[in-house]
Amino acid sequence: MATAIKPRIKLDKKEARKGDIVEVKALVQHVMENGQRKDAEGKTIPRKILNKFVCTVAGKQVFAADFETAISANPYIQFKFRAAESGPVVLTWTDDDGSTIVGEETITVT
């Protein structure tokens, strides 16, 4: 179920010169249930959010974020990194239940 979620990731350029700034935009489908809402019977719906996001480029962490309940459903994140070496751009989101959503792109640095 959770593994079926495919994040949408976009790099503003797939090929960059060393030292260029690359922008990453990513959107992932997730309810980001904040633990405040109540269902029809008045019971609180338990919290279930993606609480951690990490981006690595060629195995090196370039950006990370800790999400709280204030992040909107289907969380969107946009950030930049400095192109240093070619390799996979791996984005990982971690759920409250420990499962992860992983997306991958490739950057070529010349």
Binding site: K60, A65, S72, A73, P75, F79
Partner: protein
């Protein structure tokens, strides 16, 4: 629990409570309703954060508090010698004060990030940036929210 309250009494009581709350807020803006002030204190370790360097971009008026675009950027060369390591963002009017913490490194190149957040009501958003040398910079913005983003 009170046995019976008629509508007029209820309204009177809640109006009084509201007035007190408004007065309290006006007198001491530091005493926020949630844990946002504590979170900042924990983040800075009690050190004072200087105004400046941080740019917090949010719409002045958010029609829908469920998804409000938020951009934060910090002036920094982002080199091994001088970079922004973390940015904490808190809201003083949400049920939980914490919103998001961004972690940067020299490999980030630019200390800038954008996401979309929930805002329960009109409130102040504060960003605090930690530099690698241990200094702190901060910026605040107020956002007016027409429809709250919690509970809906």
């Amino acid at each position: 629990m009170m046995a019976r309250l008629n509508r007029r009494q209820v309204l009177g009581v809640s109006a009084g409570a509201l007035a007190t709350a408004a007065l309290g807020a006006a007198v001491s803006p530091a005493a926020a309703a949630n844990d946002s002030a504590d979170l900042i204190k924990k983040f800075t370790g009690g050190k004072a954060a200087t105004e400046g360097k941080v740019k917090l971009d949010l719409p002045e008026i958010a029609e829908n508090g469920n998804t409000v675009p938020l951009t934060v950027s910090v002036e920094s060369p982002m080199t091994e010698q001088s970079y922004v390591s973390d940015v904490l963002i808190v809201a003083d009017g949400n049920p939980n004060g914490g919103m998001v913490t961004f972690h940067f490194s020299p490999a980030s190149g630019v200390a800038e990030a954008n996401t979309r957040v929930r805002l329960a009501a009109t409130q102040n958003i504060t960003a605090v940036a930690r530099m690698n040398d241990g200094s702190f910079f901060t910026a605040s913005r107020q956002v007016k929210v027409t429809i709250g983003g919690c509970g809906g």
